[in-house]
Amino acid sequence: MAVAFARVLRGAGLRVPLGSVLTFVSALGRLQLGDRDQVYWAGRATLVRNPEDIPLYDRSFHVFWMAAGAGDLPEEEEPLHITLAVDDDGEEGDDSPGSSEASDDPQITLRFSAMEVLRNKDFANYTDAELRDAQELMTKLRFIGPPRRSFRQRRSKRGRRPDLQATLRSALRTGGEPITRHWRVSGERLRRLVLLVDVSGSMEPYARALLRFVHAAVSGRQKVEAFAIGTRLTRVTRELNSRDPDKALSQASTRVTDWSGGTRLGECLRLFNDQWGVRGMARGAIVVVLSDGWDRGDPAVLGAEMQRLQRVSYHMIWVNPLKVSPGYAPLARGMAAALPYVDHFVEGHSMAAMEELAQVIAMDAPRARANGRGGSR
């Protein structure tokens, strides 16, 4: 019975490892099976591990254990509408340009000059093959921000704090006389990089490019958290953490239900701040927002949320691919509301702009903020 229920949960999309099922079974052994509530809570304690999964669990529980009275089920609002499958169309078909990569030296130089052209081309005009070439180029960029001092200490030849452990060890060798003294200094840790990527309408090709590049540039080297913003907030970190970027992106696109919808920037930022950012994820982190700043919501909300986010972050960067458009001034109301709280405002439309972004991220001391900097530990 427990196994069958686990299968229902898996069918509903929950990840239920065997170990949890076994725990569930032993939990049931300790409870009264007749008591629905006890069974319900036993399942929640053993099979569910994220609050987001609770509604899914509730529905499955209803269906499975209360099949008789299933009439009063809360109506599912069918959340999965994938409007746009990202780059699946081109990727499979381009085996032919892909095969040229397995070539020898002379051709590589050729390709490199082609990349020089790519460097300044607008992402919106990229073909998928070009996007992939560019991504290769991007792997060489380092998106690593400045480190911060960590609590953890490491050994060092000289320093301020004595390393008694190492001193003692060497003292043993010299007959108990601490002749050589050892020291410790604070270690360093990389700051977290938080990406908030607008996936609506015109931003979509840039969003794709940025996510791809960040994936290539940081994979495995730095903590990165990624969120898609649009009409709703979607966390795509897990999808980006897999090694294969294409797979990661197609996974991400199944998560994001609103590629190319409208934008509610302020509302999404508020959700991000409430659920993740201000609680700790954005504290002392480098935050990069990619968006053109067109917000259908109230610009005052956006401004307030940007301020809140800036106060806890170490460095607030806004990437606006439209910044290069001739004669562009931040006319979008949302953009204007957000700008006072942005430490750096950069382009993001091409490889060259991405390189600039990499430099800004690596910058040691972001612009001094007027009223001190909160939260950067």
Partner: protein, 304 residues
């Protein structure tokens, strides 16, 4: 040892914590299955309090490990008392004792249990009491991944290995409560090892009971108003909706001021105990304090 979740409910209530059914079932299961309990939820919903009340109830010593970024084995499990070891070395030398000893014999003297500083995890494993202690691993989301991996090892075997001394294993495994504010996801492997419970804000009636229990000077009428007002505040889209901890603080403040009924003036002067952001206080004032009190009173005394 409890035999049903209801036992747990009663016992916790008797020691000053009013759980809902979900929490008492989870606590019950974690005790009988001897599995750690991971509590997640908003700040101030009473996660840490669960461990404290468990300790009061079972009589086991409360051992608390506060996590932070960069916490490592020497701060969480054990460390050697190096300064005493050095002193011991010098003393052995001064008395001439060390002359007759080989280096390895000397080393054996130094890495003796009396120079071992036991930190929270080792203390909880190597307890010598009849009653297993309650180990609270607080805000585990603040520690880093490496530490989580280590924690997983300790929590699955309930044993700790000190290379110089050997293995410490728990005679009776401690009751383990982990809390997380969810600033980042705790690793899945660790979650799988634990029972999981998402702690919610209490519902209205439970919150009234909590206030009455924790602040007995506050009478029923005021308690209902306070709980009603807090419920309204939680619906205002604030940056930091008040948790139970704030409700209790507020009730205590009101009791200390000798207030028996909410009015605009007392709410205005005590708002800082419930709302800790200037923006939240402003938003509440915009909503209207008089309205807040009116809604709270209606909520508190509607027939149910």
């Amino acid at each position: 040892m409890p035999t049903t979740p209801a036992d747990v409910s009663e016992a916790l209530a008797a020691y000053g914590y009013i759980p809902d059914d979900g929490l008492s079932t989870s606590v019950f299961l974690s005790m009988v299955l001897q599995r750690p309990l991971l509590l997640e939820g908003e700040a101030g919903v009473g996660k840490t309090e669960v461990a404290k009340v468990l300790s009061r109830w079972t009589g086991g010593e409360l051992i608390r490990l506060q996590c932070y970024e960069g916490i490592d084995v020497s701060q969480a499990v054990y460390d050697w008392d190096y300064s005493r070891q050095l002193l011991h070395l010098r003393a052995a030398e001064a008395t001439g004792e060390s002359l007759g000893l080989t280096t390895s014999a000397l080393e054996q003297q130094l890495y003796h249990e009396r120079f071992l500083l036991k930190r929270a995890l080792l203390k909880a494993i190597d307890h010598r009491n009849e009653l297993p202690p309650v180990l609270l691993i607080d805000e585990v989301d603040r520690a880093d991944d490496e530490f989580e991996a280590y924690l997983l090892e300790v929590l699955s075997e309930y044993q700790v290995t000190v290379p110089e001394l050997g293995r410490f294993a728990a005679l009776k495994p401690p009751i383990v409560v982990l809390t997380s504010n969810r600033t980042r996801d705790v690793h899945d492997a660790l979650k799988r090892r634990c029972l999981y419970h998402w702690v919610e804000h209490p519902d209205f009636e439970r919150e009234v009971r909590i206030v009455r229990m924790r602040v007995p000077q506050v009478l029923e009428r005021l308690a209902r108003q306070v709980a009603g007002a807090v419920e309204t505040l939680r619906s205002l889209n604030l940056y930091k909706p008040p948790g139970v901890a704030e409700t209790i603080d507020w009730a205590q403040a009101l009791a200390a001021m000798g207030v028996t009924e909410l009015d605009e003036k007392t709410v205005a002067s005590t708002l800082g105990t419930v709302l800790k952001y200037r923006e939240d206080q402003e938003r509440t004032r915009q909503h209207g304090l008089a309205d807040l009190i009116k809604q709270a009173t209606e909520r508190g005394f509607q027939p149910h």
